[in-house]
């Protein structure tokens, strides 16, 4: 009596961030998608970056060759260029052969080679006392970081760019007399060498985040085609897990591995197993697609509250669901530009009869009111795409409540009693 029927407060399996048990199929597929998300589409970007770096290198090389007569000793500069071209071609070949990845060790080696390129170029232009006018291979080395941006974590690229910046500034200060005639060129060249890597790193971070957010949205969107009530990825996995645990326990008892009468610990395991199983068999089918969408999504889960005591979301047709989900998504917007404290509450119901249409007179359709109340979302920041999405859900009126937008929607849905 003391340990068995505690239907509340059951110890559940460990959970991952979005509420799926860590070992479940759902969590696994999400993890896989997420891992892929880190590189999704970046291969193409890397190729583009290589083309840009190549173009810049060609320009730098032409510039170097047209000024070759100015150099007191041309050998270090030539060596720097040869080394750079070799490193560029070698890395490109390696990435093509080995697939889109670069180990830390290889990156370190590339970094050393690029540092050597910069050093050799600096040695060659030192006697000219104008870094801005003559730096070529060292600037190209900065562009050389571009294709690597897609293959290594951002912080490594930031470190590499910072080192390059320090080297350039030190070289400029040490070798070039700073006058109004030379300063603009020094600034331009330092910026040209350092900016590409920095800008590319920040753009790629944004690109990766976009892919992650879109992935989350697309995964959650698979909920819109579900039946009125669904168990969700969560419940199915849990049920399979519980069935397996029960099977093992019963097998143990049958085979005599678990001695009878049961030890208190095993007995309490059996009790909580029975309770959880019971809960999943009875309670599992009470949730709607919208509930699953909100709980499964990392982005929605944080800031969306769902109030749907009568499970009315299940009545919405797939296009309406899609519109509602998309509207909420767009309202929340880019997670970076989101101000802290932004939240959305979705309230569904109570159902009212539709007035003034023929189908409603026959009782075939009902009106499910949906109230989207937000905090921290100004009305003028709502994009046109959001209103388009809301239009697909039903007739809406938007108002402003405490400087945040509030939308009243009327979803006309088929009367569940008629179908």
């Amino acid at each position: 009596m003391s340990i068995d029927e505690n239907t509340l407060g059951v110890v559940r399996g460990r959970r991952a961030a979005r509420g799926l048990p860590i070992g479940s199929t759902g969590a696994r597929s999400l993890r896989q998608a997420r891992a892929a998300g880190a590189t999704l589409g970046t291969g193409y970007l890397g190729f583009g970056a290589a083309v840009i770096a190549g173009l810049q290198a060609a320009y730098g090389l032409i510039f170097f060759l047209s000024h070759i007569s100015d150099y007191p000793s041309v050998v270090p500069a030539l060596l720097a260029w040869l080394l750079y071209v070799a490193a560029f071609v070698g890395t490109a070949a390696l990435v093509t052969i080995r697939g889109e990845r670069l180990t830390g060790r290889v990156f370190a080696a590339i970094g050393v080679v690029l540092a050597l390129v910069v050093a050799l170029d600096f040695v060659a232009i030192w006697p000219l006392h104008d870094v801005g006018a003559y730096a070529t291979a060292s600037v190209a080395a900065g562009f050389g970081l571009l294709p690597i941006v897609t293959l290594r974590p951002a912080r490594e690229l930031v470190v590499a760019s910072s080192l390059l910046l320090v080297a350039f500034v030190a070289m400029v200060v040490a070798s070039t007399p700073l006058t109004s005639a030379t300063v603009p060129q020094q600034a331009s060249v330092v910026a040209l060498a350092v900016l590409p890597g920095v800008v590319a790193t920040s753009v790629l971070q944004r690109f990766r985040r976009m892919v992650q957010v879109e992935l989350d949205r697309v995964l959650v969107q698979s909920n819109v085609t579900q039946p009125r009530f669904a168990v969700g990825m969560l419940a199915s996995d849990e049920l399979a897990r519980l069935d397996l645990a029960a099977e093992k326990l019963l097998d143990g008892v049958a085979g005599g591995d678990v001695p009878l009468p049961l030890a208190p610990k095993v007995a309490s395991q059996a009790a909580s197993l029975a309770t959880e199983l019971r809960l999943h068999l009875i309670e599992g089918r009470r949730e709607t697609w919208l509930h699953h969408a909100v709980t499964e999504s990392e982005y929605l889960g944080r800031s969306v509250t769902l109030v749907d005591p009568s499970s009315l979301a299940g009545l919405l047709s797939p296009p309406q669901r899609d519109g509602l989900l998309q509207a909420v998504w767009l309202l929340l917007g880019d997670s970076k530009s989101r101000t802290p404290g932004t939240s959305i509450t979705l309230t569904l119901g109570p159902v009212t009869a539709v007035t003034g249409s023929i189908t409603s007179l026959a009782g075939r359709s009902v009106d499910v009111p949906v109230v989207v109340s937000t905090t921290g979302i100004r009305r003028n920041r709502v994009t046109p795409a959001t209103w388009n999405a809301l239009e697909r859900v039903g007739e809406y009126t938007a108002s402003t409540h405490e400087q945040s937008v509030k939308v009243h929607l009327h979803c006309i849905v088929d009367n569940p009693a008629e179908s």
Binding site: E5, I52, Y59, F207, E214, L219, L260, A385
Partner: protein, 385 residues
């Protein structure tokens, strides 16, 4: 793809902003260095560059194309003003100071001008204007500033094209992952339905587990082992994809007809509790036809009530009275056991709410509980026919 277009534009404009502001700042720093340009020129250039920075910020904020044109125009004008011949000697490095502005900050707007033909034409016109301006200022077409400006435009434009094209590429991959995920969700839903549909199986498994939870109290180890072996076998079948029905214990009919007689299955419940030491006596109707899902819920609720009697009432006998009319079937489970104070023990604690009320409510039925200490317990279960 609506959202993806929006995401692409957002990515492009934020790239333009980052690159443009960085380049404009470099140019501004170079220009304000004393002696690089005339103070009068500076008065014209600085506000223009600042306006361009504002345009760069607003391009991302509003998505309006007006700011692209404003930014391009201010960039060009700033270039012209900076390179205007001054009365004093023009610094030779002036052209270099303007390069980041003309070939970087102004060119940055072309990043957002890559998605349609009209925009590409606009970008091309802007490119030509910028190159012509710089070549007029530096006196010839074949000079370093012209080449650097042209290179800047080409590289920035390429960046825009490439970024813009990778977004739909990533989108396609993401959608295919989404499709795979949808398929997996459907499979998992079907799987859950199959498992949940195996209600009778889970009923005996739950009964056995509950017995185990009491360390097998009141049942011989042999009987418990036999029952456990049978249940484990059924669970294994379920796991391997079958939809097994309990049969070895003789408890349930294997028919999958729409309506099943109540009496036959009541008898099996009685046998099961008999084995566990609770004598169940039936009164009233024996043959009531019920839809399968109602029958399931009704039987499961009944079994839960009897299980509670067996465990808590402290008696070895329970009475079940079944009566029915045209639209309801009603069962009264009574025992003469210890009873309990209804206010003292919450319903949740007895598993009553989950297993009895919940199940009956699913099929449109209800359950009521009457008890007081020392006076036994009565549960009334109702289900529609």
């Amino acid at each position: 793809m609506d959202i993806f277009a929006q995401e692409r534009d957002r990515l492009l404009s934020s790239t333009a902003r980052t690159l443009g502001i960085a380049c404009a700042s470099v140019s501004l720093l170079a220009l304000v260095y004393p002696g690089v340009t005339q103070p009068t020129h500076l008065l014209g250039v600085v506000p223009l560059v600042l306006l361009q920075i504002v345009a760069l910020v607003l391009v991302g904020r509003t998505g309006s194309r007006v700011w692209v044109l404003v930014g391009l125009a201010t960039g060009m004008t700033a270039t012209v003003v900076a390179l205007l011949p001054a009365d004093g000697p023009t610094s030779p490095s002036l052209a270099t100071a303007v390069i980041p502005l003309a070939g970087g900050a102004t060119a940055a707007f072309t990043i957002v001008l890559t998605s349609s033909r009209l925009r590409i034409v606009t970008a091309a016109v802007a490119f030509v204007v910028a190159v012509v301006l710089v070549s007029i200022a530096s006196g010839s077409f074949f000079t370093f500033p012209v080449a650097a400006t042209a290179l800047g435009w080409v590289l920035v434009f390429l960046t825009g094209v490439w970024l813009g094209r990778s977004v739909p590429l990533a989108a396609r991959r993401i959608y295919s992952i989404g499709n795979a995920h949808r398929a997996e969700r459907q499979a998992s839903e079907t799987e859950a339905q199959r498992r949940q549909g195996a209600r009778l199986l889970h009923d005996t498994v739950l009964a056995t587990l509950t017995l185990l939870a009491h360390s097998g109290f009141g049942v011989t180890p042999q009987a418990l082992q036999a029952q456990a072996a049978e249940d484990a076998r059924l669970l294994r079948h379920l796991r391997l994809g079958g939809t097994p029905q309990p049969q070895a214990s003789g408890d349930y009919s294997l028919e999958t007809v729409e309506e099943s007689p109540l009496g036959q299955t009541l008898e099996s419940v009685k046998q099961r509790f008999g084995r566990m030491g609770l004598e169940v006596s039936w009164h009233g109707t024996g043959q009531v036809l019920l839809p399968t899902h109602v029958l399931d819920a009704f039987l499961l609720a009944l079994a839960e009530c009897l299980e509670n009697v067996r465990r808590h009432a402290g008696v070895t006998e329970a009475h079940v009275t079944i009566i029915h009319d045209d639209d309801m079937v009603r069962a009264m489970v009574t025992d003469a056991g210890v009873g309990f104070d209804l206010t003292g023990v919450s319903e949740e604690r007895l598993g009553f709410k989950e297993s009895v009320v919940g199940r009956l409510r699913e099929v449109g039925g209800s359950a009521r509980l009457f008890s007081s200490p020392g006076a036994g317990t009565t549960v009334v279960l109702e289900a529609p026919r």
